[in-house]
């Protein structure tokens, strides 16, 4: 290893785990050297904690500063950052948590992903009106590129909403499985809960299903006419919400 490579490895080991090997390389008296290196050790943790706090503001609020700090410290010690942008630090923070807090962490990270996901254009009613009725069955719809899904079994989303609205958090609730669709419309993030059959329909669209495929899926549990009505109702809603992408 070159002198420069050794020096850098030693500094990094100092910052990550307090190794002392670098100390003889640093100019100054022993006590002063420790103080000087300590500025880097402190700054590293402070900066990552700040980044985690920005990615997880509601979680920090729910846990309280001290508990959040402890979770952040454990995470920082287990997962040093590898991305070029600090914005991507903290994706797996939920692993340090249990129950509602773990779901809240996943939820906030997902909101962050949607916030700066790739831009996309949404299909409009006018686009659809241009279609001939005979084109409908073969119509292949695709989800807007910002769309993400999330499953919860606690009231993590209700807690997030309460915290965002600055009202007291709701009490814990008995487990209930809910699906959420999260997306962005222009620059504002939207979400709503969605029933399981609609989630299945979204997944089918993701896999390249046509409008006729959606109707056929639904027709297993209802008449063909009801299935077509249901699919048309969904489609109208999805387009109104901006969930369907325009073009390919």
């Amino acid at each position: 290893m070159t002198h420069l490579a050794t020096l850098q490895a030693q500094i990094q080991q100092r910052v990550l785990r307090g190794d002392t090997a670098i100390e003889p390389q640093v100019a100054g008296r022993a006590q002063d050297v420790a103080l000087r290196l300590g500025i880097y050790e402190h700054a590293y943790r402070a900066r990552l904690k700040e980044a985690l706090g920005m990615a997880y503001p509601v979680l920090r609020e729910c846990l309280g500063r001290d508990a959040f700090d402890a979770v952040a410290t454990a995470y920082i010690d287990s997962a040093p950052p590898t991305h070029r942008s600090i914005r991507w630090y903290g994706a797996a923070l939920h692993r340090e948590l249990r129950g509602m807090h773990a779901e809240l962490a996943r939820w906030e990270w997902l909101l962050g992903e949607v916030f700066d996901a790739a831009d996309d254009r949404a299909l409009t009613e006018a686009d659809l009106a241009r279609l001939a009725p005979t084109d409908w069955p073969a119509l292949r719809l695709r989800l807007h590129r910002t769309v993400r899904f999330c499953e919860t079994t606690t009231n993590a989303v209700a807690c997030w909403q309460a915290a965002a609205a600055l009202v007291p958090l709701p009490p814990p609730r008995d487990p209930e499985r809910l699906w959420w669709v999260v997306w962005r419309r222009d620059v504002s993030t939207r979400f709503r809960s969605t029933p399981l059959d609609e989630v299945r329909a979204f997944m089918r669209l993701g896999a390249g299903a046509t409008f006729a495929d959606l109707c056929a899926d639904l027709a297993r549990d209802m008449t063909g006419r009801e299935a077509a009505m249901r699919a048309a109702t969904w489609l109208k809603r999805w387009i109104g919400e901006g969930l369907i992408g325009r073009g390919c």
Partner: protein, 274 residues
């Protein structure tokens, strides 16, 4: 980079204030990594801003001094962003940020040795080839210096810029902070740098920790730094000035007032020099 006048660092807190109305701000410096995202609000605002102001891209993760391999995926994303917003300049720091696949997100100091000069210069040339232009490297604040230094910090900065044929972004606050932390004369530092290469000046606030100064960017520019800025403004006539503020961010109007102060000091320093 051409002379752009007096600018500010763009901060998300100020997006709406900046786009709402006219301000005495000539240009903006944007943190490159904040805009290396697929889409959404950051890029939306950046493009609105670009329609009205010259921009300079300022990176924090190039890690030009690291002994880890250059990250070409990162460099290509920087080039892509530059294609999109056509910045007046692209800068990063004369430092390293990690090795072994880790990015410590800190600007770590290099030893002032011939080995480091050679290493950095070779990498700068590669970066400049990819980006198709000269970059500006910024002197960083530091809290340690290494035994076995072969030259002063200013000698190191000047030698890197010559060997790499790159430009310099002179952070006046960092010079002052280091002059206290390592005990050197900050004016001699400025005099050691090649005038032609210094194209941008940074101003920022610092804070005190014991007998050391820490580059915190959380306060107004200190008086001692303003005095050093007068010397820098008179010497580095090609350099555009900007104020960095990253923490305890005040309303935009306060920063515009601080920038006016820089304008007045620079004008009188230039007049006195003439």
């Amino acid at each position: 980079m051409r002379q752009l006048g007096f600018g500010l660092g763009l901060r998300p807190d100020h997006y709406d204030a900046v786009l709402d109305g006219a301000h005495r701000i000539d240009w903006f410096e944007v943190t490159t990594e904040n805009y290396l995202v697929p889409g959404g609000k950051p890029l939306h605002y950046l493009e609105r801003l670009r329609e009205r102001y010259p921009l300079v891209m300022h990176g924090v993760s190039l890690s030009i001094g690291s002994t880890a391999p250059l990250d070409f995926a990162y460099l290509h994303s920087v080039r892509e962003l530059a294609r999109r917003i056509e910045p007046e300049g692209i800068s990063d720091h004369l430092c390293w940020t990690g090795v072994d696949g880790v990015n410590l997100h800190d600007l770590l100091p290099l030893p002032h040795t011939d080995e480091a000069i050679e290493h950095v210069a070779a990498r700068v040339r590669q970066v400049q080839d990819v980006l198709g232009r000269r970059i500006m490297l910024e002197n960083v604040s530091s809290y340690v210096s290494f035994r076995g230094a072969q030259m002063s910090e200013s000698g190191f900065v000047a030698a890197v810029s010559e060997a790499a044929d790159c430009l310099l972004l002179l952070d006046v606050n960092n010079v002052y902070v280091n002059s206290v932390n390592h005990g050197f004369d900050p004016v001699s530092y400025l005099n050691a740098l090649p005038v032609e290469r210094v194209r941008q000046l940074h101003l920022a606030g610092h804070s005190r920790r014991g007998h050391l100064l820490v580059d915190t960017h959380d306060a107004p520019v200190a008086d001692a730094v303003w005095r050093l800025y007068e010397v820098a403004a008179a010497r580095f006539v090609h350099a555009s000035t900007m104020i960095e503020r990253d923490d305890r961010i005040p309303p935009l109007a306060d920063l515009v007032d601080e920038l006016d102060h820089a304008r007045r000091l620079a004008a009188s320093a230039l007049e006195a020099a003439a």
